[in-house]
């Protein structure tokens, strides 16, 4: 794959994905995601998918190579700088999302309140709009234990897309299995791309119904030795 450094929102260059669960090989990842593009990556093993997400979000450092977000290598940042920088990334995932001591509503709003000086009413309005797109009347007002799983899955989507992030990383095994969310997710991704956001969707299978509605610019499969570009049949 030809790398185009400098213009990408997310750039993985020679990144080594080691310690894989079901492969003895270290995969070498090269990926360039420009503004407004959608990339679909099939990662069959959930462990590998989580590793990849951690690399993209700067939560883990690669053994080799560099991961650049908005042109700057995560490795050059201090943990606090990384923390602040991640405010421009939205992540749609289901694991370890909802803290038990606050409501789902507050969990969604708190990040925006912490990082941005945006009126709460505006955030709520944006979140409600997204929640209604994903089939909820509003954001769930209870804590995670008192909220139906259906609502938690949709709230996680709201959380990922809220606040016009520059990069949206989707890694959601529940989403892979849900056909109801296919159209709303495609609409949300399309809207995000229209305003210039970049989407990296890590899915267990390129054939999942949720991914069928999304127009992607690039599609890959994580093989033993790295990312393999694939052609999607539509």
């Amino acid at each position: 794959m030809a790398a185009r450094p400098g213009r990408s929102v997310l750039s993985l260059q020679g990144v080594a994905l080691a310690d894989r669960q079901f492969s003895a090989h270290t995969a070498r990842l090269d990926l360039e995601l420009p503004h407004g593009e959608v990339a679909l990556v099939q990662v069959e093993d959930e462990h590998d998918a989580a590793l990849l997400v951690d690399l993209c979000l700067g939560l883990a450092d690669p053994g080799a190579g560099e991961v650049r977000f908005l042109g700057i290598d995560w490795a050059t940042h201090t943990p606090r700088e990384r923390f602040h920088r991640r405010r421009r990334i939205g992540a749609v995932m289901q694991t370890d999302v909802w803290p038990s001591h606050m409501t789902v509503l507050e969990s969604v709003l708190v990040a925006r309140a912490y990082h941005f000086n945006q009126p709460r009413a505006e955030v709520i309005a944006d979140a409600t709009e997204l929640a209604r797109l994903f089939g909820l009347p509003g954001l769930p007002a209870g804590r995670r234990d008192a909220t139906p799983m259906r609502a938690l899955v949709r709230a996680a989507c709201v959380r990922g897309f809220l606040g016009s992030p520059d990069l949206i990383v989707v890694q959601d095994q529940v989403l892979d299995q849900s056909s109801e969310l296919a159209v709303p997710m495609a609409q949300a991704i399309s809207a995000a791309c229209d305003r210039g956001a970049t989407v990296l969707w890590i899915t267990a299978s390129l054939a999942t119904q949720a991914a069928q509605f999304v127009h992607t610019n690039q599609a890959f499969r994580l093989g033993d030795h790295g990312l393999i570009r694939v052609r999607r049949s539509r």
Binding site: A121, A125, L136, G138, P140, A141, G142
Partner: protein
């Protein structure tokens, strides 16, 4: 289920699980060992038979092969001897002829002894078939040559060097009559230059030439020559005879050595003396030497030649590709005084091939026998297994029957115990679960109005726990209630696909990951009193008699329910009075208080929101309608209702739906209905706040009616209509549109909330807001659906309205 939307779960003490004793475990292990041994013995027998047959086949094959090899060695030796004898009989007479001729010539010159030697030669050649010509040369170069001709006579060539050089040919017929006498001045032949002359002179004894092409006869042959020396050792004469080897070649050809074997005669240098072919010629040029074994273009002969050169004479085995070839090379030196060799080349398979063939045949037959034995053994084993299975099945059925008998005994015990109703039901579900080896067994009692099935007891065998209180409403599962009303049992392994249980599956069974269910109606005197559900019963042998058992159990339960439903008159009056009092209290106090709270909360938030938009509530008094009951129907996706069902004439399904809904709405009493896009908005309201409950009831009834109509249409058309409904009670805005006559458009507030709730509702369900729930929960059954924050209302609990209580 009364008012609380959450099913009441009342766990009871779980029975202690029994741990199997060590003795029982040992007995089971021993039993499994015996069973394994019994099943594996036939297989072991087959394996032993296979091994024995293979061993016998191997031993017999090797013995046969060894014997065949011995026989083949003897055969080759015999052929060697035969070839030797043939060569002796072929070559000895010419040698004797030569010796006799030499004696007759006695060293005389050709000129001197020619007439006598010619006569002698003609007689000898006529009687010795292997000799074709006679040569007699002296040291001066005089020469006498007698050779057979094609007329049955002889041609005699004489070279006389006494007066120069004179060559004459005298040709005779078969009667020895001279036909021609002619001179040949062009003949330059000099016997002293010929190999046989020079060989005899140099070796000073009888000399055998190589095979070559006879100049005169154009046939392959060889010459044997005998020199004669005087007492001083000076060469006087050389007498030679030509021996044709065509006859020897023919003899070699007719030898049958296996099917592909052949014999050759070669000299020590590997040059071919005789080849097993009638038409074989050593070379086209009479002067050329006979070819070597590696020069005839036969790869086997080339390999044999190389083998002999390296390993010497004897009997060898030559591996040629996949073939093993026997190469026998025995010298016949004494016969010719030269190192001639009889070479026999024959593939080993010509001798031992039949052993392999018969071995294969025997093996195939053995395999056939083994297969038959295996089949018979397998059949016996299978019959054994079947017999065991039948025995096990009989044991299982016996155990099941005993368990069920015990269940009946327990239930009968409980039936006579006046104070043991609740404990009896628990034991009944436990016993039924054990008897049917089911995951769960639940006993449901039908309410007096026949609208609700309430779980009296449910036993979950996986966690050994009981739950009670769950309610199933008829409006929620009309098909299940209809099936139960017929008094028929429902037995389905795919509850989600069975129309009778599909609603039960979606609401109750699917979350428990159960799809296999057996449901027995509990009927007394033709009246449905409840049902017993056996969830995930074990099928197979343990299911034998399941239906009969459940039917019988349902009769017992019906008796129990009947007995329980007949309280003493005093007690009955007390219960009725208490219920009436409770209902009155609920109606007069609890519901309005909750409703007031939720309305107040919404009203406060609405006023604050309006104030933020510079629109105080007081200024909207004229346009706002407080506590209006709003219902929204989100119609199916247009692509699913664009078809024209057969019973609607030429109308589309959507037309029929709208028509049907219009009729229902007209009867419902709602005062406002508007259709826009794929949504119908209904509103029931009056300015008088006191009538809000009536409007809410009206709207809720209309929503249920509309839902049922749409479900009926689904059933009628056999399709799935993706419709959703919602109900909310709250403030709406009213605007007047048009002038003649003016019409009113309702918007904002609860209309928006109801639309949002309808969009987020589940398929075929009625979503309800908190205010709607607070007002209607006394008369209608609701299920909670989560609490959400809506900018318009703040935190709001949402519900699904199931049906009327």
């Amino acid at each position: 289920m009364a008012r609380s939307p959450t099913p009441a779960l009342q766990p009871t003490a779980a029975p202690a699980s029994k741990t199997p004793s060590k003795a029982a475990a040992r007995a089971r292990t021993a039993s499994r060992l015996r069973t394994t041994l019994r099943h594996s013995l036939p297989v072991l027998g087959v394996v032993v038979v296979v091994v024995l047959v293979a061993a016998i086949a191997y031993v017999v094959y090797n013995a046969n092969r060894k014997g065949a090899r011995t026989l083949s060695n003897d055969l080759i030796t015999a052929i060697d001897r035969r070839v030797g004898a043939q060569m002796r009989s072929y070559l000895t007479p010419p040698q004797q002829f030569l010796v006799l001729a030499d004696a007759a010539a006695a060293g005389r010159s050709v000129i001197e002894a020619a007439p006598e030697m010619e006569r002698f030669a003609r007689h000898a050649i006529a009687n010795i078939p292997s000799v074709s010509a006679f040569s007699y040369a002296d040291a001066e170069g005089n020469f006498l040559f007698v050779v057979r001709n094609d007329k049955g006579g002889f041609d005699t060539k004489t070279i006389d060097r006494r007066e120069g050089r004179r060559v004459t040919w005298e040709r005779r017929d078969g009667n020895n009559k001279t036909l021609t006498l002619e001179e040949d001045p062009g003949d330059t032949f000099d016997p002293r230059t010929r190999p046989w002359y020079q060989g005899a002179e140099s070796t000073r004894k009888m000399f055998w030439t190589d095979t070559y092409l006879f100049y005169t006869l154009k046939k392959p042959g060889l010459t044997v020559a005998l020199p004669h020396f005087d007492s001083d050792g000076k060469l006087q004469t050389v007498i030679a005879v030509d021996i044709e080897i065509a006859t020897l070649c023919a003899y070699l050809e007719q030898l049958h050595i296996g099917s592909k074997g052949r014999a050759l005669i070669v000299d020590a240098a590997g040059r071919i003396i005789a080849y097993p072919d009638d038409n074989w010629v050593p070379a086209t040029d009479p002067e050329a030497k006979a070819p070597r074994l590696d020069e005839v273009g036969d790869p086997v002969l080339t390999r044999a030649y190389d083998l002999l050169r390296i390993e010497g004479y004897g009997r060898k085995i030559l591996d040629f590709g996949q073939e093993r070839i026997i190469v026998s090379s025995e010298p016949v030196r004494r016969l010719t005084s030269r190192d001639w060799i009889v070479l026999i080349i024959v593939p080993e398979t010509d001798f031992v091939g039949f052993v392999s063939d018969s071995g294969v045949t025997a093996l195939v037959m053995s395999v056939g026998v083994v297969l038959i034995v295996a089949a018979l053994t397998g059949m016996l084993a299978w019959r054994n297994v079947q017999a065991e299975r039948r025995a096990a099945a009989a044991t299982t059925r016996q155990e099941a029957l005993e368990t069920r008998t015990q269940t009946f005994i327990d239930l009968a015990h409980d039936a006579v115990a006046a104070d043991a109703e609740e404990a009896g039901l628990s034991r009944a579900t436990e016993s039924a679960a054990a008897a049917c080896a089911a995951k769960r067994v639940a006993i449901w009692r039908l309410s007096r109005d026949g609208r609700t099935l309430t779980c009296e007891d449910c036993f979950d065998s996986t966690v050994h726990d009981h739950t009670v209180g769950l309610a199933l409403h008829r409006d929620e599962m009309p098909n299940l209630f209809a099936a139960l009303a017929k008094g028929e049992a429902i037995d389905t392994a795919e509850a989600g696909r069975d129309k009778r249980t599909s609603e039960l599956f979606a609401t109750y069974l699917q979350p428990l990951e159960i799809s296999d269910v057996y449901i027995t109606p509990i009927v007394m005197a033709g009246r449905l009193m409840g049902m017993m559900s056996v969830e995930e019963p074990q099928r197979g042998d343990r299911a034998a008699g399941l239906a009969t058992f459940c039917d019988a159990l349902s009769i017992l339960l019906a008796l129990r329910f009947t007995a329980a439903a007949a309280p003493t008159p005093g007690a009955q009056a007390t219960v009725v009075a208490a219920a009436a009092a409770a209902a009155a209290t609920a109606k007069d106090e609890a519901a309005p208080a909750e409703a007031q709270d939720s309305f107040a909360q919404r009203q406060t938030r609405l006023e604050r929101t309006l104030l933020a938009h510079n629109a105080p509530m007081e200024s909207l008094i004229e346009s706002a309608i407080d506590r209006a009951a709003v219902g929204v129907i989100k119609l199916p996706n247009w692509t699913t209702v664009a078809q024209r069902p057969s019973d609607t004439g030429q109308r589309t399904a959507m037309d029929a739906i709208v028509h049907e809904l219009q009729r229902s709405i007209e009867k419902s009493g709602v005062c406002y209905a508007a259709l826009l896009d794929d949504q119908i908005v209904l509103v029931a309201f009056l300015r008088d706040r006191r009538s809000v409950e009536g409007h809410a009831m009206c709207m809720a009834t209309a929503m249920l009616e509309l839902r049922d109509r749409l479900i009926e249409l689904e059933d009628r058309w056999g399709t799935s209509l993706d419709f959703r409904l919602a109900i909310d009670i709250g403030t709406v805005m009213a605007s007047t549109v048009g002038t003649d006559p003016p019409s009113r458009s309702l918007w904002g507030g609860s209309v928006g909330i109801a639309k949002v709730l309808a969009s987020a509702a589940g398929r075929r369900t009625i979503a309800a807001s908190e205010t709607a729930y607070d007002l209607l929960s006394n008369q209608f059954l609701f299920r909670p659906r989560g609490s959400y924050f809506l900018p318009e209302t703040g935190n709001m609990r949402t519900f699904v309205m199931v049906g009327r209580i």
